[in-house]
């Protein structure tokens, strides 16, 4: 009996003293580049597994007006506040143009009025922040696939990059998606929200909605849409501001 008590005491002591060592050890493991690289292999695995079980055009759930969040909180940048952007806000985006360029046959420069005159889609969808919260709102905009067909993607184009007016650590915010999501029927450049013109807090004049991915993919203040063959040469090369800055997954379907 006494031998067993000693064993128990020993184990208890090891557990208590080991706590601090364990903490330091865990953080060493977490910080090791090799570990991050191996764990990072799960990202393409998650993308392909989710694509395997989803139809390409499977729609994100849509809701009724009664199911909308009473308050749709703003997140990230609430106002880019650069001199250029402030001038556009003051002018009601009258002189503003959306550039569509890169690997396209017909580069475009569209005014907000021209974009609003094009076919529109309205959808009430759930916005899921990577942090865990969700908000349901109504979005009206130009389906991205229509815009890309008008510009005519070149065969080499693989990704669509969104360059934005807001700055993160002094560099313009950007995001990117692949062509499956770019041509998804719910993917749009929204100019209206909850029945009104999209406000500055939520990304005026245009905000990307890519409904099967998390909030940080929904780029606000979109100024330029660029078709590219590879993400490697753009900013940090990981396909988005948060991906470059702190290592969020490029594929944010989960």
């Amino acid at each position: 009996m006494s031998a067993r008590l000693t064993r128990r005491g020993l184990l208890g002591g090891l557990a208590a003293g080991g706590g601090g060592l364990l903490l330091a050890g865990c953080d060493k493991i977490d910080a090791a580049p090799g570990v991050q690289r191996i764990l990072g292999l799960a990202e393409p695995l998650n993308l392909h597994a989710q694509r395997l079980v989803s139809d390409r055009a499977a729609l994100a759930p849509e809701f009724s007006a009664a199911e909308m969040s009473p308050v749709f909180r703003t997140n990230g940048t609430a106002n880019p506040a650069t001199p250029d952007y402030a001038a556009h806000v003051a002018a009601g985006f009258a002189d503003w143009r959306l550039a569509v360029d890169g690997l396209v046959a017909n580069p475009l420069a569209l005014s907000l009025a021209q974009i609003r005159q094009r076919p529109r889609r309205t959808q009430i969808t759930r916005h899921d922040c990577v942090e865990g919260w969700s908000a349901i709102g109504q979005w009206t905009g130009l389906p991205l696939g229509m815009l890309l067909r008008e510009a005519g993607l070149r065969p080499q184009a693989r990704y669509i990059v969104f360059h934005c007016a807001d700055l993160f650590r002094d560099a313009p915010y950007y995001e990117s998606i692949d062509l499956i999501d770019a041509f998804h029927p719910q993917t749009m450049l929204a100019w209206g929200m909850n029945g009104q013109t999209l406000g500055v807090g939520h990304g005026a004049p245009l905000r990307l909605r890519v409904e099967r991915q998390l909030g940080y993919k929904q780029a606000k203040y979109v100024m330029r849409v660029e078709a590219v063959a590879s993400l490697a040469g753009i900013a940090g090369g990981k396909g988005g501001t948060w991906e470059d800055a702190i290592g969020y997954q490029w594929y944010a379907g989960v």
């Binding site: 865990c26 953080d27 989803s54 499977a58 809701f63 759930r126 990577v130 969700s134 702190i246 997954q249």
Partner: protein
């Protein structure tokens, strides 16, 4: 767990087959990494809601604020335990000792969580398939009708409360409380946590919208995910205490080599 009726206390029996032992340790690793990285993900937004949506302006049924846990309208002070600000760090709901990584980092926590999810699900499915195919579930885990009699369960609870555990031949098999606890983990908590985890994925919601109906919306799924995690944490705590009380060397050895020494019958 073959039964020849000849065994008694002190005998060494072959108790855990290889798939059980393998899955136990792989699952122990994945569940602990999932729990600790999950608590760090919770730190990013320490509020839980019911329904489809839920954010800062909406009513939360649980939240952790500096030094406090709020459950509905009940506020519990949790100084130094929950809702802490470590020196040089930012406010976190769960303290560094229980999270991966130890200081606030949502991106790294997600990398751990979304990778180890595979180590939770794939070996779990293999264990399930083996368990059903080879009779492990039926023979070892499923309680018998006799064991489910309230008087039998009450008797086992009373014996456990007095720290009197089965000895001799009676210790060859799991007792009914073990069976119920293991079944709850294997067939309720783990499947529940996996399905609610999938429900939080916007891409999976497009592919399998019935998940949202099953759990009552994404924020309900997130709440149930958290409750299942707390259930698993409670199971681990009780499990470890029981291992210590039942004789840790014998118990741990049996889960490594499969061989278990039956506890000797107590002299009354």
């Amino acid at each position: 767990m073959a039964d020849d009726g000849q065994t008694r206390g002190g005998d060494i029996i072959y108790r855990h087959r290889l798939p059980v032992r393998l899955w136990h340790w792989v699952n122990a690793l994945s569940v602990i990494v999932m729990l600790m990285s999950g608590l760090m993900i919770f730190n990013a937004h320490p509020h839980l809601y019911w329904g489809s949506y839920g954010a800062n302006h909406d009513h939360s049924w649980l939240e952790i604020t500096p030094g406090h846990l709020r459950l509905g309208s009940l506020i519990v002070p949790t100084p130094g335990l929950l809702g802490v600000t470590p020196a040089g760090g930012r406010f976190v709901a769960f303290p560094p000792l229980v999270t991966i990584p130890s200081s606030y980092n949502l991106a790294h926590a997600r990398v751990w969580h979304l990778a180890f999810a595979w180590l939770l699900v794939v070996p779990g499915l293999l264990y399930w398939a083996w368990g059903f195919a080879r009779g492990h579930v039926r023979r070892d885990l499923a309680p018998t009708l006799d064991e489910l009699r309230p008087s039998h369960i009450a008797h086992d609870i009373a014996q456990h409360a007095r720290l009197r555990f089965p000895t001799g031949a009676a210790a060859r098999r799991y007792n009914v409380l073990q069976k119920l606890a293991y079944c709850a983990v294997i067939f309720l908590l783990i499947p529940g946590i996996v399905l609610t985890g999938l429900t939080m994925s916007p891409a999976i919601d497009a592919a399998w919208p019935w998940l949202l109906d099953l759990f009552g919306g994404r924020q309900s799924a997130r709440s149930i995910h958290f409750l299942c995690a707390m259930g698993l944490a409670l199971f681990i705590l009780v499990h470890l205490v029981m291992v210590l009380l039942a004789g840790p060397i014998n118990e741990v050895r049996s889960m490594i080599t499969g061989r278990y020494r039956l506890p000797r019958e107590k002299r009354e």
